[in-house]
């Protein structure tokens, strides 16, 4: 029973960060119909942001996140404005290929500048885990979990309550109708892409103390990310959150009860099954 609770806890903790990455991807897809293959590389940039913040300025990742999130937002809007905007009318496959190019470009520039060395972030308070009720919880992961919930809840409120959030949801439901109602779809797209990048960056900063950093880590993250958003239904924020937590649980329980070696495979098999039999997502909320 203890191993079970332990793996549920670590599954939910990791899952909350997966959820954050997934939400960024799914919001962008909802508004622009872009499957952003470079999303994982934006997470990677966030991870390196956390690393260099600590290495150069002795800034704790949970502090430097305040710097990286606005920067990633700005970067995202610039990417949209100068790189993506003209491509989007070309159709889904064109943008898919284009963001694949962007992904390779970002990852290899990072490889060139920062080398392929594996790096880790060592925090003093990460040495011994907390032990509430006898369950080991790594401190950085717990902090990241708290912040991830805070950020995701904030985003949810933003989408639900503000005018900008309503405009984003409207565009995601029907861009033409939204435009007719006076929504500036171009501006909404720019803000949404900035938002998606900021979420990716934030998740990267929060993940950095718990993972190895290397420039091509985005490749693995983006693959997980697809599993998450497809599980939850592409375009659905609630779906991405549940998908993220579900994948976290599947991985940690799978590692214990099936096999450590095949834990990642379970996620992909689940992904294929959902794609084939429930393309609108497990919870039936997304658009297929």
């Amino acid at each position: 029973v203890e191993t079970f609770i332990q793996s549920v806890v670590s599954g939910v903790l990791t899952g909350s960060l997966y959820a954050m990455i997934g939400v960024g991807l799914t919001v962008v897809f909802g508004v622009m119909r872009i499957i952003n293959l470079a999303h994982g590389d934006l997470v990677m940039l966030g991870m390196y942001g956390a690393f260099w913040g600590l290495a150069l300025w002795r800034l704790d990742p949970f502090v430097s996140i305040l710097l990286w999130v606005p920067l990633m937002f700005l970067g995202g809007t610039l990417i949209y404005r100068f790189l993506l905007k003209t491509i989007i009318p070309g159709g889904e496959l064109n943008t898919l290929l284009y963001t694949a190019g962007l992904s390779l470009l970002i990852a290899n520039l990072a490889l060139f500048v920062w080398s392929g060395d594996y790096r880790t972030i060592k925090l003093r308070y990460a040495l011994s885990p907390m032990r509430p009720f006898g369950i080991a919880v790594p401190v950085p992961l717990a902090l990241a979990f708290g912040l991830a919930i805070f950020i995701t809840a904030g985003l949810y409120l933003f989408l639900a309550r503000t005018d900008m959030g309503r405009a984003i949801r409207a565009t995601s439901q029907n861009p033409e109708a939204a435009a007719l109602m006076g929504v500036n779809v171009d501006r909404i797209s720019m803000v949404t892409f900035g938002l998606g990048s900021a979420l990716a960056g934030a998740a990267g900063v929060l993940l950095a103390p718990s993972l190895y950093l290397y420039p091509t880590v985005g490749e693995i993250l983006i693959a997980k990310c697809f599993v998450i958003v497809v599980l939850g239904g592409l375009g659905s924020v609630a779906g991405a959150i549940s998908g993220g937590v579900l994948l976290g649980l599947v991985e940690s329980l799978g590692a214990v009860y099936v096999s450590v070696a095949y834990k990642d495979t379970i996620g992909f098999v689940l992904f294929m099954l959902v794609l084939l039999f429930r393309p609108s997502g497990l919870f039936g909320v997304g658009k297929s």
Binding site: N94, A100, G101, L102, S103, E219, A223, F226
Partner: protein, 316 residues
Amino acid sequence: VRRLAPLAAVLLVLALPWLTASQFTLHLAITVLLWTVLGVAWNLLGGYGGQVSFGHATFFGVGAYTTLILYLKLGLAPWYGMAVGGVVGALVSLPIGLVCFRLRGPYFSLATLAVAEILRLVALNWEGLTNGPVGLLITALPPVRIASRPINWESKAPFYYMVAVLAVAAMLAAYGLSRSRLGAYLLAVREDEDTAEAVGIDTVRAKVVTLALSAFLAAVAGGFYGLYFRYVDPDAVFPIALSVEMVFIAVVGGLATVAGPAVGAVFLVTISELFRERFLVGHLIFYGLFMMLAIRYLPEGIWGGVRRLLTRHAPS
């Protein structure tokens, strides 16, 4: 002139080992030709059929592993192993195609990517067959005599001829496909799948057959890779990057053209290998950069653009 140009290109390719003594140049040429085969293979389905696979590393890896496993465990010479590997690759593609072709557009792409990752994880963990992350290593190749002269496996020339023949064969296959009934079906599927179905084309069959052909070529290329480098491991033959590079070579060179992938391979592989020679890492920067430029400014690819210029000026 138009009929002689391909012939002249083939002769030039075959004469290259006499023109240069540099091992690096030959290695570069072998790499270019290997990627030509892969680009052409991907282009059959992706270019003509419009089905963007992000998982062709699946077939490359299956071919590479089949070739090496047959040689190391059963002693089957790797050149026969390459052919068997191709057939195994085509067989593996059948269930994958039947499943993935139920999806369209970007969803198909994501599904193929997942398939390649599943295969990579299987190769990593099925240690009894694949030796896991350690990989498989060929220490010596069996001796072969052609016209009573032994082939020197330490030189690069025999590998060069092997891959050159493969590249020419792959391009002939692409040429044949583009002029065949199947090729016409594929264009119809690419332009409008529902209409293609409505006029009575068995679209699933057209796609599955093309995927099998494409997988065969990619798997044979994988077998050649295993033979040339004498080593395979899961991260060398099943990575996402490998699948993506095939796509980029075909798109940058020119989708749905016979020569496009060759042009793309010459261009991208040469630039990136020279960069790798100098800086060691980050050689895929150019793949990303030229992919973005091509989608933005030259969607018909380099060869497509050149051909447009040529036909504009030619008095026809």
